[in-house]
Chain length 244, copies 2
Amino acid sequence: MRAAKHTDDPRMNHLLAALPGDEFDRLKTDLEPVSLALGKVIYESGEQLEYIYFPTTAIISLLYIMENGSTAEIGMAGNDGLVGIALFMGGSTTPNRAVVQSAGNAFRLRSKALLDEFQKSGEFHDILLRYTQYLMTQISQTAACNRLHSVEQRLCRWLLNTHDLLQTNKLIMTHDLIANMLGVRREGVSIAAGNLQREELIKYVRGTITIFDRKGLESITCECYKVVKEEYDRLLGKYISKNS
Amino acid sequence: MRAAKHTDDPRMNHLLAALPGDEFDRLKTDLEPVSLALGKVIYESGEQLEYIYFPTTAIISLLYIMENGSTAEIGMAGNDGLVGIALFMGGSTTPNRAVVQSAGNAFRLRSKALLDEFQKSGEFHDILLRYTQYLMTQISQTAACNRLHSVEQRLCRWLLNTHDLLQTNKLIMTHDLIANMLGVRREGVSIAAGNLQREELIKYVRGTITIFDRKGLESITCECYKVVKEEYDRLLGKYISKNS
DNA sequence: ACCCATCTGAGCGATAACTCACATAACGTT
DNA sequence: AACGTTATGTGAGTTATCGCTCAGATGGGT
């Protein structure tokens, strides 16, 4: 059984939690709980999507894969968002891959149920569009950040973003995987991570990174972290109940 | 008079041309013709948008501006698209700047007229969302490209993209401006452009670049050019009459 | 016809990041 | 407890790009 069930409350996902009662009730029965293992490919580049995913505890990365196999992350989503915007934007697919970056749970919704509710043009519609704009901000910032900032700064940003979507301080994550996200070599991550460890901001052993000092990371990382975070609050804050 | 009039046909813009007759007719009278000078700022980062712009002959760049003043282009739009998606996505603004990269004409539409038609959930709605997904592809590809490809390849891609939106082979454009788009130093652009000139793919003198050999540029540039172009056709091809 | 602002070419040292190669360390399995 | 696999550390050599500086070229304006 590749997609185990779970019993999370769907409203652990902030977007689902933001829906008015009647809209949520209509979707509720169609929300299918799924447990997502690390590395699972949610969808492949160019592949028609069947489901949209609302993570509760999982984190999913959007990755671009070049012809020569090199990769770079363009965005990530956890319980703050969803994966599969191509379904309601009209394209049915996108030229990128979605991979589970941190194992955990999610709810998925079939294309048809999604579109039925989307086309009712209620808050669901508006929230999905606002989230899409947020995702664009994330991607845009990444585009500029990739060009203008150092590996160490980008690593800090990535760690902070991931930490924001996690319930713990421990990331199950090797340097090699992070390198694929940042679009750099593994050695580059090892050196940057070594620096952060030396400064006692993080600690890692063989595939787990523990975050010790968020403030410290925030002071090293580029402005990109803050800009994106503030844009989430601006775009979706009024819908999201203040927790997390 | 900062925004001179013009008499272009609004349907020179492919998105407007794609609208069904009745939807176009409703918008027609609200479309205000404007001439846009090189360098004009259409909107500033964080500024509430008043209009959405549909270029006919102008090209508009979306630029990210870092706190230290360095810049990087994340996307561009000409008669293939529009500028101001934040208006219908719900955010009213985005953390980037839109600048006229090539002088020319456009039509603009006031926020209210735009939203009235958008909320009718007709083809206008669907086309705008599909275009938004296309723009996300453009930005995503730029994010990965910025990380993984050389200045010379990115310059070729940029020249090709610009050329696709132009009616001539001549770009009014200094190396310095291109450097701001690509997020590199002016010298880097001069060297890359020098190579292209030596290979007789382009020719430039003091602020104008002439494109001689598109095929040649396409053979040098990275896959990113093609991926984005094909995604435009996939997402919007069925709406767009085959010209350009 | 000249001047001057602006654009481009070129050189040089500094540095970040890459490539390649191999050593060491941690963990799971048997 | 030994072994194999996978993760991390490190070093040497290379390349791309940066930052700075200045010279030379171009073309518009007076």
